[in-house]
Symmetry: C2
Subunit: 241 residues, 2 copies
Amino acid sequence: MDHRRVKDRLYAVWADTAKALASPKRVELLDLLAQGERTVEALAREAGLTVNNTSSHLSVLKGVRLVESRKEAQFAFYRVADDAVSAFLLHLQALTRRRMHEVDHLVRTYFEERDALEPVDRAELRRRLRRGDVTVIDVRPAVEYDAVHIAGALSMPLERLHARMGDLPKDRPIVAYCRGPYCVMAVEAVERLRKRGYDARRFAEGLPDWRLAGYPVAEGPEATNAVPPRRSRTASHRRAS
Amino acid sequence: MDHRRVKDRLYAVWADTAKALASPKRVELLDLLAQGERTVEALAREAGLTVNNTSSHLSVLKGVRLVESRKEAQFAFYRVADDAVSAFLLHLQALTRRRMHEVDHLVRTYFEERDALEPVDRAELRRRLRRGDVTVIDVRPAVEYDAVHIAGALSMPLERLHARMGDLPKDRPIVAYCRGPYCVMAVEAVERLRKRGYDARRFAEGLPDWRLAGYPVAEGPEATNAVPPRRSRTASHRRAS
DNA sequence: CTAGTATTCCATAACTTGCTGGAATACTGG
DNA sequence: CCAGTATTCCAGCAAGTTATGGAATACTAG
């Protein structure tokens, strides 16, 4: 058996996986898919791509088994193939953190503003959620909330924040979260809430981090009475699929 | 602040990291560096590249901070920038495992042979090493042993295995390890040992996995008396640098 | 069956990357 | 200071990748 040939194949296959992530738009698509499954057209719209192009990026991701698809009527729904894929994306982001700070002025200033919003870490958020002395809001689009959300969180998509802000109690702190540590939505939400006098902070990470840590999540739409619950609801711990 | 611009920058930076791993040869170089620092020329030789080419691949890896270098006399020594990088490489390999099986005939048959060698997992190896009822041999080149090795292991590079085989006791099991789960050296060693009647098995992973799990490692050359120690030697647990 | 829609497939053009060989740089050992 | 060695830099070519727009496919609704 020729060891050199085996080695070359191994490295080639690993590099193929990396190659699939070597395009900004594909990373963006995966990042979106980490929030829940979506159609090609939805992905195209959110990532600012043509449908053609999106389709071809998706087929690259599918080729290396990072995503899977199912067909329903005329729609193709894509999703990440495995929790390991979402976890891998988080590793990639963590690995790049240091360089991000050094390299990019635009991003650096954004980070600095972000840090002024007193991020709450995972353990603290969980503690406070258990004690019930915090209102947690999910500012991602409603479809993403419906797919999975932090158990006990209210759905308050950024675009409807203004309208629903009145529902929020002013006498206890609010924590907003969105897609991940680099997602801009929670930052935006916290800024707006603070302007209105709320005691708002942002969750330092996002839904995928929370879920992959095995912390309680729930599925489905928000209960009709939109009053902040005293205690967190049913916790469905799930471990990788 | 323009969120779309920030997003594009973020995804671009992440993709750049992935891009650095999108070449088989660069993955191979990183994989080698995960075993310890090396000069450009040594890397070129082991990966089967010209020095020119190696240098340019290394500068790509350095550009995204996956590796660092230091200059000593006329030699440039490269090393992995951080334990997180080695860990990331392991994730990449794990992520690709399923596809590896499906896709590649050459590799698949190799895997099948490998599994016949009754791999020992990390926890079991540690248990037996503690009890002292196993001889662990490191079959990587001596330089890699000197850089870091499993505490209590003997250095028995593949090319010198034949000569030193007599030193090994026949009355207890031998476990061979090398660079990682996909490294060919331990397989080779176990095959040869079995032919000579030794009770040999291979460690399912490799040195980086062991070290990153926080299990005891040691540095420096082997003690002069090459007799298998009854108990494992000093254990230096280290956590990321 | 027809019109319409969602998606994928394909050919093309602009661009990027990897490899090669030659030249430049920087250090060592006399 | 000189010859030799290790490494990096650079120009040029071959190969591969991305985005685009048009065509093909497959399904739904009527």
